[in-house]
């Protein structure tokens, strides 16, 4: 089939403002948006700039706005979109070039919640044991691939970049609810501060957009509950 692509382009060396460029190409309906973008880059316009790595929905590099929604280009089939497809960079973070955005702020926030295992007790002879139930408690948030789709879908984050954003809170949830972890005292002050979980207005854009199907808003609500009942 013939597909019509409208892509938002921005070259910091030439452009002041981003602009749209249009491309026509032959595609199979069962191909993914990523395949079409690569065909455009390889055969029509080598200056088109995008990130992709594994191309199989696990590295999270090719998150972009496709037909108005945040999606992974490698997990979106052309037949599900029709012949007219618009592609833009994610919103809420600065664009470096074309579809590539600057994730510096995103990862600074990710690091601020200490996304690693904290436990000062000496490790036992065998592994630190955990029941299947304890493991299930935080299973959902272990699925995060840090693609940034949830954070850049959040209108609160668009308006106020001081907000940690859903992705950082999801990562905090993964460790806060892990029975082996003892880092709550270090993480909770960041989560309770001005830019923390209380900025979440339960819009559900994050949950809607997550390519891993994580209940992001639910995870944020659980962190809120944890903070609340520690105080009361």
């Amino acid at each position: 089939m013939k597909a019509h692509f409208k892509i938002k382009r921005f070259n910091p060396e030439k452009d002041r403002e981003p602009h749209w460029e249009e491309y026509e190409l032959e595609v199979e309906p069962t191909e993914r948006v990523l395949d079409a973008l690569q065909t455009i880059k390889w055969e029509q316009d080598g200056t088109l700039t995008l990130r992709r790595s594994c191309a199989h929905g696990i590295c999270g590099s090719d998150a972009m706005v496709i037909n108005g929604k945040n999606r992974l280009a490698c997990k979106t089939l052309i037949k599900d979109l029709g012949s007219h497809i618009t592609v833009e960079p994610l919103r809420g973070l600065p664009v470096i070039k074309d579809l590539i955005i600057d994730f510096t702020d995103f990862f600074a926030k990710y690091r601020s919640i200490k996304p690693y295992f904290i436990n000062d007790e000496p490790p036992p002879d065998v592994e630190r044991r955990q029941s299947p139930r304890q493991r299930a408690r935080f299973d959902d948030t272990t699925k995060c691939i840090l693609c940034g789709i949830c954070t850049t879908a959040c209108p609160v984050f668009w308006a106020d970049s001081r907000y940690l954003g859903p992705a950082a809170i999801v990562q905090a949830h993964r460790f806060l609810f892990d029975s082996r972890d003892q880092g709550a005292e270090e993480r909770l002050p960041v989560l309770s501060a001005h830019g923390g979980v209380w900025k979440c207005r339960t819009v559900f854009n994050c949950t809607d957009a997550c390519p891993q199907g994580i209940d992001v808003t639910g995870a944020i609500a659980e962190v809120k509950k944890l903070l609340l009942f520690r105080k009361l």
């Binding site: 600074a108 609160v156 308006a159 970049s161 001081r162 960041v190 309770s192 501060a193 001005h194 923390g196």
Partner: protein, 132 residues
């Protein structure tokens, strides 16, 4: 960006309690405001509503307490909502943000003072005739 240490220290549990207040006052307001609307329009009747009838109603101190809490919850619930909106939309302009939040706060405290003053110092019905 990680919030500055000053920002974190100053906020403490403020955001948590502001969030909790919003939920609790929201539920209370739902009951109080709907009751007030229903009572004034269907039980009391809008056509009877005037200076004297409201004055007479305030003979009962419970009505004064009810009106005071309705006013307080509505004003502070609304104020916190505006504070959150201003935080979002003036996030890149710290000066304007502080100014706007201060102005709204002064307005809310002013309205609360005037309202509270009227509710609690309004003369009892016996003296109503003297009130113009």
């Amino acid at each position: 960006m990680r919030p500055s240490s000053a920002e974190r220290a100053s906020s403490g549990s403020f955001e948590l309690f502001a969030w909790l207040f919003m939920r609790i006052s929201g539920v209370i307001l739902l009951g109080m405001a709907v009751f007030h609307l229903f009572y004034m329009h269907f039980v009391f009747g809008v056509e009877r509503m005037n200076f004297n009838t409201i004055g007479a109603r305030w003979q009962n101190p419970l009505w004064r307490v009810f009106d005071f809490f309705l006013l307080a919850f509505a004003l502070f619930h609304g104020f916190n909502g505006l504070r959150v909106v201003l935080d979002d939309y003036l996030s890149q302009r710290p000066g304007w943000r502080v100014l706007a939040k201060t102005l709204v706060f002064v307005l809310v405290v002013g309205l609360m003072s005037i309202g509270g003053y009227v509710i609690f110092t309004f003369p009892a019905a016996a003296n109503l005739a003297a009130v113009p």
